[in-house]
Amino acid sequence: MRLEVNIASKEYKNAAGERHDVLAGINFALGVGEVGVFVGPSGCGKSTMLRIFAGLDHDYQGRVSRPTGARIGMVFQEPRLLPWRSVEDNVRLVAPQADEAKLSELFAILELNAHRNHFPGELSLGLARRVALARAFAVEPDFLILDEPLASLDEALAARLREQIAMLVDHRPVMTLLVTHNVDDAVRLGDRVFLLSPRPARILADLPIPTPRGARGEAEIATIKADIARRINGDRSQRDAS
């Protein structure tokens, strides 16, 4: 099972009728068990790209071939929970096949057991994010899409949630795409890091990280981060020079 993406371009027409290029050249393939992380400046079209991968947007030039019948689990940038259903119902509604044991395990990993009967309006953003994650994992996805799942959480919480995501991703065979503007998250979670240019976004570099997630030492992470920073800044100075 493989995800193959060849997006030549994507245009966006704003309310004033002006055309903008959002994407220009997103080409890559992702296999099962791989976590691909997109890193790019904010506003570069990352969310637009994810919407195309998820099959929500068909108006683009190019091809995205998802394995047929692949179950998608997605965590949107905002949690997008149903405010009128309890936490547990929010998860069960999209995953009717999930049995109690499975859900308990998931809720336990994400530390949500105490909140099962709460309504989303009663949750903090961090908790709501975790519910959104629980929902995405409960469907036992073949293809997992995470849109900045750790943004605007405090450092300690983000680190814990990052570990939980890593654990869930390693738990089952799944293709994962994650978008972030945090290089640290990218290096700690990804098997491959895709660097994106500013709008219109194209892939500047496809950097594989061969060491498994769990085995990466702080020194190695620092080296990769430095490499990424150099590439991002290098690209910027090149553009400035030209």
């Binding site: 919407r51 998820a54 099959g55 929500l56 179950r71 998608i72 689990g73 997605m74 949107f76 905002e78 997008r80 149903l82 405010p83 009128w84 259903r85 509604l93 999209v94 309504f119 309006g121 009663e122 929902r135 469907v139 899409i145």
Partner: protein, 245 residues
């Protein structure tokens, strides 16, 4: 308790007013109560109230279901909105009397004509409210349902309907009060029974106690239905909302 207080203030005001303007124009509460119990003993009161209630229920259900479906369609499909809008404006502004009279002329003085005329009067407000509700649906949640491949009916029930519920409640609330008002006119003009018919008879005979007896019994029924059915329904729909007002 506050309800009881406001009820006693109402009765007291009525009594004082009847003393001031005289029995002939405004009979005091005991006279009206006597007329009411006489009608109740003969069974006419309950029969007429029941008939009127049945008409209200039928017209209300008809207008709500049809109006909600049309409103949802007009909110979702641009072409439906374009086609339906002129009709909607026409119906919204058509006087109730015109609809009722035309219905009786075209369909005869029948039960079907009465109920259809009442329903047609309520229909456009339900359409407008539900259309607004449909336009206000959260596209982000629709996308969520699509990505997670929720079956269509399930998405409708758990994603769409809860968002429409406040609009349905608003349409039901305003629609019910409209139906209460119009049903009496329809009965007055072309039915041989019901509260409206009795009020018409009382008017012709200048029997003010009878007129008030029917009006107040009707008002009491409206109040009971609002308190026992409509308000608990609204409360249930909004129980997930943090208590604000």
């Amino acid at each position: 308790m506050p309800r009881l207080l406001s009820f006693s203030v109402f009765v007291a005001t009525w009594w004082i007013a009847s003393l001031l303007v005289g029995d002939a124009k405004l009979p005091p509460p005991p006279t009206v109560l006597a007329a009411m119990s006489a009608e109740a003993r003969s069974g006419a009161l309950f029969l007429n109230l029941g008939i009127t209630l049945a008409r209200v229920a039928l017209a209300f259900v008809l207008a709500m279901s049809l109006g909600s479906a049309i409103g949802y369609l007009m909110g979702r499909v641009r072409l439906a909105n374009r086609l339906g809008d002129p009709w909607l404006i026409l119906l919204l502004n058509l006087p109730a009397l015109v609809v009722i009279v035309l219905a009786y002329i075209w369909a005869g003085l029948t039960e079907a004509a009465a109920i259809a005329a009442i329903a047609v009067n309520k229909l456009p407000t339900a359409v407008v409210t539900l259309r607004e509700g449909t336009r206000a649906l959260d596209a982000a949640l629709d996308e969520m349902a699509t990505v997670f491949a929720m079956p269509r009916w399930k998405a409708f029930r758990h994603v769409i309907l809860p968002q429409l519920a406040p609009y349905v409640a608003a349409a039901a609330r305003s629609g019910l009060s409209l139906v209460w008002k119009i049903v009496l006119v329809a009965e007055l003009l072309g039915r041989p029974n019901g509260v409206g018919f009795e009020i018409g008879v009382a008017f012709q005979l200048f029997d003010i106690p009878l007129l008030l007896a029917y009006s107040l019994s009707f008002a009491a029924v409206v109040l009971i239905i609002e308190t026992l059915l409509v308000q608990p329904f609204e409360a249930r729909l909004s129980r997930w909302r943090p208590r604000a007002a």
